[in-house]
């Protein structure tokens, strides 16, 4: 037998929410333990700071400008490359349980398989594959979906409606009556996307995802390897964890984040150094993308709201950690513990108060871009634990899964395997990562390319509604880890800027075939 793979993702989770990464709000002993036993990455970046492009990069091993799903609402082509297809071919049983989001949620016509699968009552459907064959959907022979609430056609919502209809009203209404991300406030502070949810803990989607994963694992034979993507919808907003759990982190005891200057004038001074769309959003003059509530103005965010959001986020992170613990206990109980690689990460981050913002958008700073990534190799490999400080990217996941499975990296994968150590990173050439942003919504377009190196975080803004194509941000991570001082126009940094610009040009001109950019089919 080979190595089995448990791939665990969360949604919109910051690097600093894990204890092992310096987080102080959440207790995360399970993930901390996996990190200490394996490899903890200190500088993992997404290819995009929104869900669909980033998740598509995990599956395809490609940047959004290659796989074509360039923004939320743009479906990944059904015959795009998929690492699950290669693993399926290698004999692996393949499952994705929880949040997929390679296809838009808002789908009244039922055009996308993710939205119709639950009503069909089958574990998967046959679709065209990248190599021209037909096979199970995106290479997964078992699919069971959930997202952030209890509305819609996915498996979790249908389960809640069938079994616990009395609890549906406890969840926050994710979108408002105009189908925009809801700005309505709740909790003790009136923070947007917050609600005290009376749902029983074991009916909440975090526990449901873990339970369904364990059910699938229990059905697997000892004689077959498997790849299981367990994908939690939390701690993405809405922040509506079960009310029974919120006393774990009393919000009034929560310190303000290091990157939330308490004085509004201090926040605004920092924001004004950045590209102009930052201040435009802060003041409520611009909505560039769908992912934050259109009717919410960041300048109205209060310190107490930041505390309450961070507290509830921490509760959700703890529930995820405990759910992972139950799955890991089952894996040990079944005698697979030495043969399972566990990889944990998320798709992108969340402001959680940094600079005075919540949610996400075309703002390429650590809040949204620095991600938790842990790889606990199968114990049988005897790979030494390590901490990797080199920049790595989620685009490397597909090649890494195939490497674990003893399979070669396919020609379509743009990311090399994840390094096992800093020395390995040097050998493999992990010295910079790229993050892309392209949005075009109701007449507003924004285009950003960002490179992260050991020393710098550098963004260039392409021509768009608010940018001439000459703006940028440059942060010197050695003396400005919070990315407060924009050195883009500082002559002392022109040489560094030229070098970083060349890295972005090299990315744009990289070889390889690109998919035709997909069409925006829905807001999300």
């Amino acid at each position: 037998m080979g190595r089995k793979i448990l791939f665990i993702t969360t949604d919109q989770q910051r690097y600093d929410t894990l204890g092992v990464n310096g987080g102080v709000l959440s207790r995360t002993p399970v993930l901390d333990g996996l990190a200490k036993e394996g490899i903890r990455y200190e500088r993992c970046q997404p290819t995009s700071v929104v869900c669909m492009p980033s998740r598509a990069s995990m599956l395809t091993g490609q940047f959004p400008s290659t796989h074509g799903a360039w923004m939320n609402g743009v479906p990944l082509a059904v015959d795009a490359p998929s690492v699950a297809e290669n693993l399926h071919d290698a004999g692996y049983a393949t499952a994705l349980i929880g949040k997929a989001h390679f296809e838009p949620f808002m789908d009244p016509f039922g055009r996308f398989a993710e939205n119709s699968l639950a009503s069909l009552g089958v574990p998967t459907i046959e679709q065209p594959w990248f190599d021209g064959r037909r096979g199970v959907h995106r290479g997964f022979d078992y699919l069971e979906f959930a997202t952030h609430g209890v509305m819609g056609p996915l498996h979790y919502a249908r389960w809640m409606i069938a079994h616990h209809p009395e609890a549906l009203g406890g969840f926050y209404q994710v979108v408002d009556n105009e189908l925009n991300v809801n700005a309505a406030g709740g909790g003790d502070t009136g923070a947007p996307q917050v609600k005290f949810n009376e749902v029983e803990r074991d009916w909440y989607h975090t526990d449901w995802v873990a339970e369904r994963t364990m059910s699938w694992l229990n059905a697997q034979s000892d004689n077959r390897d498997w790849f299981c993507w367990m994908s939690f919808p939390d701690p993405h907003h809405p922040w509506d964890p079960p009310k029974s759990e919120i006393s774990r982190v009393p919000w009034r005891d929560v310190d303000l984040p290091a990157n939330y200057p308490a004085k509004a004038s201090d926040r605004e001074t920092i924001i004004d150094q950045k590209a102009r769309h930052w201040r435009a959003w802060y003041d409520g003059r611009l909505v560039s993308n769908y992912e934050a509530p259109a009717k919410w103005v960041p300048a109205t965010l209060t310190s107490d709201q930041v505390r309450e959001v961070n507290a509830l986020n921490a509760v959700e992170v703890e529930l995820i950690d405990e759910a992972i613990g139950r799955v890991m206990a089952l894996i040990e109980q079944k005698g697979w513990g030495d043969d399972v690689d566990v990889i944990f990460t998320t798709d992108h981050g969340e402001f959680q108060g940094d600079f005075g913002f919540l949610f996400k958008g075309p703002y390429h700073v650590d809040a949204l871009m620095r991600l938790p990534l842990i790889w606990r190799p199968a114990r049988s490999t005897k790979i030494a634990p390590s901490v990797v400080s080199a920049p790595v990217s989620l685009v490397s996941l597909a090649a890494t899964f195939l490497s674990v499975a003893g399979q070669p990296a396919p020609s379509w994968a743009e990311g090399d395997v994840l390094p096992l150590s800093n020395d390995d990173a040097l050998v493999l050439g992990h010295d910079a990562t790229i993050t892309e942003w392209d949005s075009s919504l109701f007449g507003v377009d924004v285009h950003v390319r960002t490179v992260l190196t050991h020393e710098f975080l550098y963004s260039e803004y392409g021509p768009g509604t608010l940018h001439e194509g000459t703006e940028g941000e440059l942060y010197d991570l050695s003396d400005d880890p919070l990315q407060r001082v924009n050195r883009f126009e500082d002559p002392a940094y022109f040489s560094a800027r030229a070098t970083l610009h060349e890295r972005l040009i090299a990315h744009e001109e990289r070889p390889g075939e690109r998919a035709t950019p997909g069409v925006l089919m829905a807001p999300v």
Binding site: M106, P108, F109, G110, N177, L179
Partner: protein, 129 residues
């Protein structure tokens, strides 16, 4: 109010393309995700694959201009206007344009997303029939 336009070039004469879309009751044949419809005078009610029923008012069905215009009248919409235009590019060569204008804006995006598949299907039918 948001307005979104999608279009497709079709290797078929404009009358052939127009014949695909002009019959109101034919929409389930060329709009993916619309499973059925009923037509009573200028009122059409479509039923989507997800089970949603949406009433529509047919505003224009002009064979000379080759323009079909309709309005979704479901309460969620403060305004909707859908327009299909078939334009002649040359002999056996047409452009089909499907415009969606709606308020709230988000609904324009969602409905217009569906029209992308509809245009592809209109092209397939016109080019193979």
């Amino acid at each position: 109010m948001a307005s979104i336009r999608h279009e497709i070039r079709i290797n078929a004469a404009p009358d052939k393309v127009w014949n695909v879309v002009t019959r109101p009751e034919s929409i389930p044949e060329w709009f993916p995700g619309i499973d059925s419809c009923t037509v009573d005078g200028n009122v059409r009610v479509i039923k989507t694959h997800m089970g949603l029923e949406m009433p529509e008012k047919i505003l224009t069905n002009d064979s000379l201009a080759r323009r079909f215009a309709y309005q979704i009248t479901a309460p969620l919409y403060r305004f909707h206007l859908g327009v299909i235009d078939v334009l002649e590019i040359g002999p056996g060569d047409s452009l089909c344009v499907y415009s969606t204008t709606a308020e709230p804006d988000t609904l324009a995006l969602i409905i217009a997303g569906g029209t992308v598949g509809a245009l592809e299907e209109i092209k397939r039918i016109a080019e193979t029939s």
